[in-house]
């Protein structure tokens, strides 16, 4: 039982969801200060994440991984994060698939597994499932992706990677490139970056542009946005280039795909006059959009980014479970 469990018991369906404070459903659940606090805690937890320091902050706690659709990376990253902090993990994937087969409601599934774990990481194909689960559950829900909705732990690890490289999130020039139309990741990241006054460049093929309602929303928050159908011209001014995969299925034929995808590819040669500290990010898996010769440049940051998923989720799990991350970890090993 987490410390937050007792206060929220109320027998009725309506009015449950008292875990809203500690659940993480969207990035709106975190203020800018909260974000920076979590990123600082993640920074301090790095030696723990790397196995250099033993710090069982979450000993005795159980994470339930409730994945209604496969996402190996997200699931394993939650699992590793929990275990690095001395916690236990129950894989509820079988519960999820059997509940779907038996036609159980999401509500009943959540009420049942609520008793198995102190915190639940949920991935679900339907949008709004995480909020629904948070309203049904006593324990906090960590949204690991809900349909076309939100995936805040991904956004947090992206922000961590950026802050780690630049020391700040404020006022950076960030190029988001590739498929900006369908990518939940870039939508959510763009919203977060605007909160820190970043300048955004949206570089995409015209058929995969950032949705106009998202641009309108970002500009409504005072964002400076440049849209372009060209990536190469925006490399030299960038502090961050965030690449995404352009999927073949989005195009009517192979030729059209090759033509378009080819102009949204980064190679080491493209980076010759990039800023010294510029970083190249990618949520992975990549296909051809970043050539392997980029891996050896000082700009490549996508593998660290993937690792950062663990340390960021460690900090988020602590926060959601109400466990303080000590300010001086090195000395406690």
């Amino acid at each position: 039982m987490g410390p937050q469990s007792n206060a929220h018991r109320s027998g009725s369906l309506k009015g449950r969801g008292g875990t809203a404070v500690s659940s993480l459903i969207t990035m709106d659940d975190l203020s800018n200060d909260d974000i920076l606090d979590v990123l600082d805690a993640a920074e301090r937890l790095l030696p723990v994440a790397k196995g250099q320091t033993h710090l069982p902050l979450l000993q005795g706690k159980i994470l339930g991984n409730l994945f209604f659709e496969p996402s190996t990376r997200t699931r394993m990253s939650f699992e590793t994060a929990m275990k690095r902090l001395g916690g236990e993990v129950v894989n509820l994937g079988a519960v999820a698939s059997s509940s779907v087969v038996k036609g159980e409601t999401l509500y009943d599934t959540i009420r049942m597994v609520d008793g198995y774990a102190d915190i639940i990481a949920l991935r679900h194909p339907r949008q709004g499932a995480a909020q629904y689960a948070a309203d049904a559950a006593e324990v906090p829900i960590a949204n690991g992706g809900d349909g076309a909705g939100h995936h805040p732990t991904q956004t947090m690890l992206d922000l961590f990677t950026i802050k780690q490289a630049h020391g700040t999130l404020e006022g950076l020039r960030v190029v988001l490139a590739g498929d900006l139309r369908y990518g939940r990741t870039v939508h959510s990241l763009a919203h977060a970056l605007v909160r820190f006054n970043c300048e955004l460049v949206f570089a995409s093929p015209s058929s995969l542009r950032m949705p106009t309602e998202i641009i309108a929303d970002l500009e409504g928050h005072g964002a400076t946005i440049i849209e372009s159908d060209d990536l190469v011209n925006h490399i030299d001014d960038a502090d961050v280039i965030y690449m995404t995969r352009i999927q073949k299925e989005r195009f009517p034929d192979e030729d059209e795909y090759r033509k378009v995808a080819g102009s949204f590819t980064l190679s080491a040669a493209n980076l010759d006059s990039a800023k010294e500290g510029m970083i190249v990010m990618h949520p992975l898996p990549r296909v051809d959009e970043i050539t392997p010769d980029v891996d050896k440049t000082r700009h490549a940051r996508y593998f660290e980014q993937a690792f950062n998923g663990v340390v960021t989720r460690m900090a988020l799990l602590c926060r959601m479970l109400g466990i303080e991350v000590p300010s001086n970890i090195g000395g406690e090993a």
Binding site: L13, L106, Q127, G128, D135, A136, A148, G149
Partner: protein
Amino acid sequence: MSAPETAMRRVTAINNGTVIDHVPAGKALVVLKMLGLDGNMATPVSMVMNVPSQKIGGKDIIKVEDRELTQNELDRLALIAPQASVAIIRAYQVAEKRVINLGEEVVNVVHCTYANCATLGDREPLPHRMKVVSVDPLNLRCHYCARPQDIDELVANLL
């Protein structure tokens, strides 16, 4: 009293029931549907459509006999007739005036219009919740999936 005179009186005055005035012209039928009064109603309902109105240009008026609509039913009205005025009639007199008020959230009135919303399917037990983002123009968002709702589509999704 001849038959046409009786019919006329039914439109002009009712003994007991509810009068909904200032419904936007042409929307009376939708309002009846929203209030569940379009089917095999046991109670007489009369309607006047396209009456000139100083307040809203043209208006419809609905009179429901022998039934006092609840506040919850009246709140549904706000979705399409936010300016409507509602009077409860007892013994031919206005006994009460009710205020239409959407509040901050519309609960269990409509279900979400987004086809991939988590609330999809009629077996999920948590309440259907629409957050009122703005009243004029009416702008609602699903509490769960956060999708903005098209009001015309929403009216077809009444619970």
